[in-house]
């Protein structure tokens, strides 16, 4: 890999790059651990796991780029055949199934939460909490916006029926999103270095200049 070095963009130091890689891999692993921790609710035929909690948390805590990378890595590890998806499943079957659209929306959900937190800038715990709340709401809406049409297309249901099916998950998603709103500001306050992150080199100039 020889990326042409440019003078105007600041390079991340080797120590920072190593930390970024470790954070990305650890949050991918956290998402896997959360997906394997299933909470059984008798009302729904599908096991409810903490998977989406970890997806939203990765965006809120790691920021848009590392958060997206972490969830992308999680999906790649699952696609490679390791049983890291909800309920100990894995492999390409999960992408091919009716709920594959939700999986594919996850990196973008993390991106949206990360962008919302970054746009809010450095604020107190309350301000950060509000930014996270806005971010997780938008990200969950985005996940539905991708997941439901894919569900409808793959099952030949009409859109209204697919949305009805989707409503069954909304209460659980709301609880998980609320957990992120509580947890993310606390993690960010405990590790201020997480917010010292700059964007990847190619996209950094305007941010670094500010």
């Amino acid at each position: 890999m020889t990326a042409p070095a440019t003078t105007r963009t600041p390079r991340r130091t080797p120590a920072e790059r190593a930390r970024d890689l470790a954070l990305i891999a650890t949050f991918a692993a956290l998402t896997a651990a959360c997906a394997l921790t299933s909470v059984a609710f008798s009302a729904v035929p599908v096991p409810v796991t903490l998977q989406t909690f970890a997806v939203l948390l990765a965006g809120a805590v790691l920021g848009p780029w590392r958060g997206t990378a972490a969830i992308g890595l999680y999906l790649a590890v699952g696609a490679a055949g390791l049983p890291v998806f909800a309920g100990g499943t894995g492999g390409l079957a999960s992408f091919a199934g009716p709920s594959g659209g939700y999986l594919m929306a996850f990196p973008f959900a993390a991106l949206v939460v990360g962008l919302a937190v970054r746009a809010a800038g450095r604020r107190g715990p309350l301000g950060t909490g509000v930014a996270v709340a806005v971010g997780v709401t938008a990200a969950t809406a985005l996940t539905y916006a991708v997941g439901v049409p894919v569900l409808a297309a793959r099952t030949a249901m009409d859109a209204a029926a697919a949305w009805t099916f989707n409503w069954g998950f909304v209460p659980f998603d709301a609880v998980k999103a609320a957990l992120v709103v509580v947890a993310a500001p606390a993690v960010l306050r405990a590790f201020p270095m997480l917010r010292g992150a700059r964007a990847p080199r190619a996209l950094a100039p305007e941010i670094a200049a500010a």
Binding site: M1, P14, A15, R17, A18, R19, L21, A22, L23, I24, T26, F27, A28, A29, L30, A33, L36, T37, P45, V46, P47, L57, W65, Y74, V77, A79, A80, G81, L82, P83, V84, F85, A86, G88, T89, G91, L92, A93, S94, F95, A96, G97, P98, S99, A153, T155, A156, M157, A161, F165, V182, A183, A186, V187, M193, L194, P200, R201, A202, L203
Partner: protein, 214 residues
């Protein structure tokens, strides 16, 4: 050099010597993508059953044991629920067409996963990332060589985090506190702490530098 050896009892790969096992990973993934595209346009029960029969023949050709089916458990439950709904909404023909078509893709994906070692799929992903890295702007962000290291790190970290969560739960119980708040936040803080120490260890060993230059 891009092949990372992933040795784990967790994997869904089932070793074998059949034609399906020996086919190149890239070809299998391309065929799977083609099948997924075809099924998206198939609504009638007969062609859908034909596709399912074709995939089932591949399954038999690969001589896979029944335990290879465990990776489709979650999807199977969802398919039964959706099939019942479809039967009720549009009749048996539509339900059979949908369930057979989707089962064909899901089963084909399970066959690819079961007959292809994890490190070969990772190698295909790394090749894909190399192509992405050649795109001008993306080349600065995408570093294919560190991907293999990251995958290995994920596999190592999952059991560690499950231990961390268990430890935090035990500590909360020892303090006499109940509920997720008592252990969730300590788990998350220890997780980030673990990541920071791992980053320091990677830097100290210069692992990323070798990944870059090799």
């Amino acid at each position: 050099m891009s092949r990372v050896r992933v040795a784990t009892p967790l994997g869904l790969h089932i070793p074998g010597t059949s034609v399906v096992h020996r086919a190149p990973a890239g070809l299998k993934l391309a065929l799977l993508a083609a099948l997924g595209t075809v099924v998206a346009f198939v609504r009638e029960p007969l062609p859908a059953l034909g596709l399912l029969g074709f995939v089932a023949a591949t399954w038999l050709l690969a001589r896979l044991p029944l335990r290879a089916l465990r990776q489709v458990r979650g999807v199977a439950v969802l398919l039964v629920a959706l099939g019942a709904f479809r039967w009720w909404a549009a009749g048996p023909g539509a339900a059979v067409g949908m369930v057979a078509g989707l089962s064909a893709v899901v089963l084909a994906a399970a066959v690819v996963t079961a007959t292809t070692p994890t490190d070969e799929i990772v190698a295909v992903l790394v090749r894909g990332l190399r192509a992405l890295a050649r795109v001008p702007l993306l080349g600065r962000v995408v570093v294919p060589e560190s991907f293999a290291l990251a995958v290995a790190l994920v596999l190592r970290t999952v059991p560690t985090l499950l231990d961390v969560a268990q430890g935090a739960r035990d500590a909360a119980r020892a303090r006499g506190v109940r509920g997720p708040r008592a252990w969730l936040l300590p788990t998350l803080l220890r997780t980030v702490g673990h990541a920071v120490r791992t980053g320091e260890a990677i830097h100290a060993r210069g692992l990323l530098d070798t990944a870059r230059t090799s």
